[in-house]
Amino acid sequence: MSNLIDTKDLQGMLLRGYGSLRANYFTLLKIEDATKAKAWLQELSRMVSHGQESPSNAAINVAVTCNGLRALGMKEKNIRNFIREFREGMITPHRQRILADVEASAPENWRWGGPEGPSSEYQIHILLLVFGKNQDVLNQFYNELAEKFSSGGVRVVENLSGQINKDNKEQFGFRDGIAQPVIKGTGQTGAEQNMVEPGEFILGYKNEYGVYPETPLLEEEQGDMHLLSDDEQGSGKKNIGRNGTYLVFRQMEQKVDTFWSYMNEQSKTEKGDIDVAASIKLASLMVGRWPSGNPLVNFPEHDPGTQSDLDNFGYAASDKEGLRCPFGSHVRRTNPRDTFEDNKAKLSTKLTNKHRILRRGRSYGEMIDTPGPTSHTPNGEVGLHFICLNANIENQFEFIQHTWSNSPKFQNLHNDPDPITGTVENRDGRVQQQFTIQDYPVNRTVCNIPQFTVVKGGAYFFLPSISALNYLGTI
């Protein structure tokens, strides 16, 4: 039964976002002494929260970069079998084009993960994802871990602090992280349209195409091979990927002031005053949900107010024309559900589910109380530590970012990139960046959208299974 997943071998974040563990550190480490680091990793693998646990106090998960595998001493022939996106990293010239990491978001300007400097991509080897139910618990747990960094042969490059904000809101003030696919075969259940084959998120299982995603098989013997399972496809090689996945991490600064100032300006009254309701409405049209999380397609006129995680809905039945939730809105274009291009609803859902991601991001920086039209100046930098999990970075994360989010021609649009994450700095105004609101009798368009999010760092990681993490300590 290859589809019955051993959830105890999965790192817990594949199955849960640790919603009750509100505080977190994402700690980027450099390996300074491989021998010590391997022993430390083995010890760590016994502490890692697995898929059957539901931690209520603290949790830790661990991911590693390609340079990290190299630093641990993995043989090049074995590294070669990891997917190209992971091996090449996030900042190749081609990837900069498709991810729109240009101008202010160019890797040269990144805080970490860029081409040069003390926090460059070459210095980042391991990512610890450390969670605690509150800041005190987190600090205590982290300090215990940190005591062993030095003897474990690792050094902190960056320690990124974050949290889940009140009401699960991201920094612009919208309830976030609602739409999540549910992995078949894990025992979890959800709406039928959200049930996705495990191979989209976990290596070693079949995906939505009915085939196994490419997985790193070991070409050369190295370490304690008994810790790994065999290739499901019968090559006789060991599969270090099984029960693991790839993790995408991007630190995105959110320009809250720019965001709400723009909404206010575009929706002001004839006298030039702020029209609070209109400003919130415009922002919600761009997001595709109200600040409370309620989807526009269900509540096109007003925010019903109560916080909502409503996710079991589509667009085909009630909003084929985009009159409720604009085609170009962030949530509709990054998850078109049953309106993928002009396909029929059922086929659309099937096609959309070939490009899903599990989102595990968290906010950073001090959130202002109820961000909105009249309160939008945070105290210092705020943003999102965007994290997602997927088995095929090219066909999932990069596809969503490139083909859906950054594309100005999504659906039948002309000059409309994703208003939330797809606009660029546009210093000289040479690119038209607009947002079209489908309406009667004519569509409304807001123009000259500034850049609301700026990428500040990023890298691709491998999130091994717990047994593979243990194995890495033996190579």
């Binding site: 090449e88 195409y209 995603p213 070939k354 090219e394 490139h402």
Partner: protein
């Protein structure tokens, strides 16, 4: 108005391939500028097909030049000889069968036929596409600047129509452009003929399965097993514009049965392109500007090229999702393709192997020209719908539909 395909091929002189390659890259901007200045060329490219060993025989490297133009091939050849002779001479100096004293006839002699040629915007010239884009921009601006609150769609339409028809820049709008329609009668007849010959096709598919397909040797690689260098070379030219290009050379599987099968599939493709794929979708895929299939080297190899919107991943993914059977039917006759079953089953549906095969057989395009590389084929076709609807008298529902496109 018809769009004409032109395909020229010639061999490259021994040991001159690398010089030609660097010359093409050097001349890229100037060639593109001159093709653009003609105002009749939708898309064009120069592609080097490297030397190879084909069934044990050494085969020279070749240079392919292709265009989609609004003028017939002879006129287009005359045009380029008149306006870019310097570039042509520099490029073809490395090739055989080219005389600077008789450029046009040298080029005409290089012409080979296309086995199938699909266009996403049939019936429209470069000039028409540009005009319609200007019309869209004009209408968009009026829409944007006006206050339409409380008005009916009919009222808005009438005002837009008046603004356009009273503007001498748009006097051409009064005449609709003639775009082909789906030929339902033809499709019915085609369907009946298909039904009549279906038993023979099924028998043929069984024969192919028993005596050919099961002995095929697929490439068998996943995309990660391809050379990183090759993928990097392909990606170096990708995603600078909204449109992208794809050029591919594949060896045919040997034998007359394969040739017969591919010719049958070409024939069906040609008919469907004429009858059905006239609305900007090729087998349901709405992002393809054009595609063409050409047989080269005594039909021992196939050259395929296309222009598409968006990413490579989306383009190839669309093929798998929407027309894996069609792809398998044609490309299943080429070497290395994922193993097919009964001509159209399996094959391309093996996602990893199909994507790997596609990348593996893709070749670099040294000069790539698109008149407007930022416009999508959906934009082009929408603009035509707007242009043809605008001058008409519309009811509320029709007017609403029109305005939704702006």
């Amino acid at each position: 108005m018809r769009q004409y395909a032109l395909t020229l091929i010639t061999t490259i002189k021994p040991a001159q391939v690398e010089l030609l390659r660097s010359t093409l890259y050097q001349l890229s901007d100037s060639v593109k500028q001159k093709l653009r200045a003609l105002g009749t060329v939708h898309y064009g490219r120069f592609v080097i097909i490297d030397e190879t060993n084909l069934d044990g025989q050494y085969t020279d490297a070749q240079l392919i030049y292709t265009t989609n133009a609004d003028v017939d091939p002879d006129k287009h050849i005359a045009d380029i000889c008149a306006t870019m002779s310097v570039e042509l001479d520099a490029i073809y100096a490395f090739c055989n069968h080219y005389q600077t004293t008789s450029r046009a006839s040298s080029l005409r002699a290089m012409k080979i036929p296309e086995m199938a040629f699909y266009q996403g915007s049939p019936g429209r010239t470069v000039a028409v596409i540009e005009q319609e884009k200007a019309l869209y921009d004009f209408l968009w601006k009026i829409k944007q600047d006006g206050n339409w609150k409380g008005q009916s769609a009919i009222a808005v339409h009438q005002q837009l129509r008046k603004a356009v028809l009273s503007n001498p820049n748009f006097d051409w709008v009064a005449q609709p452009v003639d775009v082909p329609k789906i030929n339902w009668l033809g499709l019915v007849i085609f369907g009946i003929v298909q039904l009549a010959v279906a038993p023979f096709i099924i028998l043929w598919a069984i024969y192919m399965q028993l005596f050919h397909e099961q002995f095929d040797t697929p490439l068998g690689l996943d995309i990660n097993q391809l050379s990183d260098e090759h993928i990097t070379t392909m990606q170096r030219d990708e995603d600078f514009h909204f449109q992208n290009q794809f050029s591919q050379v594949i060896d045919m599987k040997p034998g007359k049965a394969r040739l017969f099968t591919v010719n049958l599939l070409y024939f069906i493709t040609r008919i469907l392109i004429k009858l059905l794929f006239v609305k900007g979708k090729l087998m349901g895929i709405p992002t393809i500007h054009f595609a063409r299939w050409v047989m080269i080297n005594d039909k021992k190899r196939m050259f395929f090229e296309s222009n598409f919107d968006g990413s490579w991943t989306q383009y190839l993914g669309d093929f798998i999702d929407k027309s894996g059977w069609g792809l398998t039917g044609i490309f299943g006759n080429t070497k290395g393709f994922p193993r097919a079953l009964l001509l159209i089953l399996k094959g391309a549906y093996n996602q990893q192997k199909f994507l790997a095969w596609s990348r593996h057989t893709q070749i670099a395009t040294q000069i790539w020209f698109a008149y407007d590389p930022e416009i999508s084929i959906k934009n082009i076709n929408n603009n035509t719908v707007i242009r043809n609807l605008l001058p008409k008298n519309l009811n509320e529902k029709e007017a609403t539909k029109l305005l939704a496109l702006i």
